[in-house]
């Protein structure tokens, strides 16, 4: 082969190499696209929420719907390609529900499903990027929003169903003034009635605290068990307001009892699956009979595990 022939062959090999690289890049991009493909869930959520919005536009009464979106599961492709866990941006417009990959700004094409707006229904354009959202139709307003436990009118709908013989409940008190309330809760939720199975595990802790000049407040934990803690505090709130026609406040735990030795000892030694709520009683609540209070907690526990 002369010099000219070698050059030609070299060019040919170079072109082949370039073509191979291009094809390899295209394949890698498309496989990554498939691995990152939320198409199924985008279609599912757009249709599901779109049809819900359609039903809401019948405009007959109010409704509130808690909606849990599926979190993406890791698979070998996402592991190989280091793809982030995915979420969605849900957008409610005047005529359709749009589902984008999260974040919306980087997602080019939404999956859209139309609904027919009723002339008297005011659809609020809103965008939500959360794994748990709420669609509400109140009066003439239809909107979607993040789930805010603090002012939710219905408690979370995710399943916490379990046999109560397998779950042990405990109670501690952070102030001697509320010891009788904690004791009542302990008695009523004791192992003679609940968690009497040999395989029962510690499940939840009702912590009773006291503050004379504050309103009755329910604190939920800000840890791995937040959702469980939120749900129980919400149900306790509903039970309490049903009985006394007064709705306690719900707040995220702000660390105010961290210095309390009982509380810090419990947090240090608690089992990972155990979730807790703090019931902050004021002078008003300490006037109600302890058994009544414990009854409210028991009713909430029964509803929670139903």
């Amino acid at each position: 082969m002369n010099k000219r022939g070698s050059e030609d062959k070299l060019f040919f090999i170079l072109w082949e190499l370039m073509a191979f690289l291009m094809v390899a890049i295209i394949i890698l991009i498309s496989v990554r696209g498939v691995a990152n493909n939320n198409t199924y869930w985008k279609t599912y959520y757009s249709r599901d929420l779109g049809m819900m919005a359609d039903i809401a536009n019948i405009n007959q009464g109010d409704f509130v719907m808690n909606y849990a979106l599926k979190e993406s599961t890791d698979n070998f492709l996402t592991d190989i390609y280091f793809i982030d866990k995915k979420m969605f941006d849900i957008v409610l417009t005047q005529k359709a529900v749009e589902v984008y990959d999260y974040p919306k700004e980087k997602s080019m094409y939404p999956t859209t499903f139309p609904f027919a707006k009723h002339k008297n229904v005011n659809v609020i354009n809103e965008s939500v990027s959360a794994n748990f959202l709420v669609m509400t139709k109140k009066g003439n307003e239809l909107r979607i929003s993040d789930y805010m436990i603090e002012n939710a009118e219905v408690c979370p709908s995710y399943s916490t169903s379990k046999e109560t013989r397998l779950t042990k409940f405990h109670s501690i008190y952070l102030d001697n003034k509320v010891k009788p309330y904690s004791d009542s809760v302990k008695t009523i939720l004791g192992t003679s009635r609940y968690g009497n199975d040999p395989q029962a595990k510690n499940e939840s802790m009702i912590i009773i605290a006291y503050s004379g000049n504050e309103n009755l407040t329910l604190y939920y934990s800000d840890d791995a068990n937040t959702l469980l803690s939120q749900k129980l505090s919400c149900i306790v709130k509903m039970q309490y307001s049903n009985k006394y026609n007064y709705a306690p406040e719900i707040k995220k735990y702000d660390g105010r009892f961290d210095i309390n030795p009982e509380f810090s000892k419990y947090i240090a030694n608690k089992e990972p699956q155990e979730y807790w709520i703090i019931v902050l009683l004021s002078d008003n609540e300490t006037k109600i009979p302890q058994n009544e209070f414990a009854g409210i907690i028991e009713k909430a526990i029964i509803e929670y595990y139903k």
């Binding site: 000219r4 022939g5 040919f12 199924y40 049809m51 536009n57 139309p114 009723h118 002339k119």
Partner: protein, 184 residues
């Protein structure tokens, strides 16, 4: 090898060389296509919601104020009592249920009445999205399936046909709701 060397030297030779490689390129393309087809085949991105969509729309027609009698003061809707004034205004459905996407769905609501001898007497019909109905019905009648065609749901519901809002003048009717949803 010698032949290849010679072929590479001139233009004709290069073309021959390319043609010799045509099979190689062809098989590579087939392998790539197979790769993509297999990946797409095993990933399920399709959801068949045609009947749910049709049910949703049929229920919306039945439960909303589009055709049903509505009390003026309270806006309460009497589901199952068709307001014949609304029914006779042929734009009632389009006014009340308006999809921005014309190809989304279409419906026809037919009212008929059984007489004492059991004969069914046609009263009238009203359409939602009539143009789309005509297009989609043609595809259904032609027996076409798959994308571009449509799926139909038919529901018969016994209703009361109210000729005035005070229910002094009414008939017992059968409402047939036909909903067509395009296949996607």
């Amino acid at each position: 090898m010698n032949m290849t060397k010679n072929n590479m030297k001139n233009k004709k030779g290069q073309i021959e060389y390319l043609l010799q490689n045509a099979f190689r390129i062809g098989f590579t393309i087939i392998a790539l296509l197979a790769f993509f087809l297999l990946i797409n085949y095993y990933i399920n991105n399709k959801i068949d919601t045609r009947y749910v969509q049709a049910e949703t729309l049929a229920n919306r027609i039945m439960l909303s104020d589009a055709l049903m009698l509505q009390e003026r003061g309270t806006s309460r809707i009497y589901t199952g009592i068709v307001d014949m004034n609304k029914f006779n205004d042929k734009t009632s459905l389009d006014k009340s249920i308006k999809y921005e996407f014309n190809r989304h769905a279409a419906a026809k609501v037919k009212l008929s009445k059984k007489d004492v001898y059991g004969n069914v007497n046609y009263i009238g019909d009203i359409y939602l999205n009539k143009n789309n109905w005509d297009n989609l019905k043609t595809t259904i009648n032609s027996g076409a399936t798959g994308k571009g065609s449509a799926t139909m749901l038919i529901k018969d519901i016994p209703v009361t046909c109210a000729y005035d809002t005070d229910l002094n003048n009414y008939d017992y009717c059968i409402m047939t709701v036909e909903v067509i949803v395009p296949n996607s």
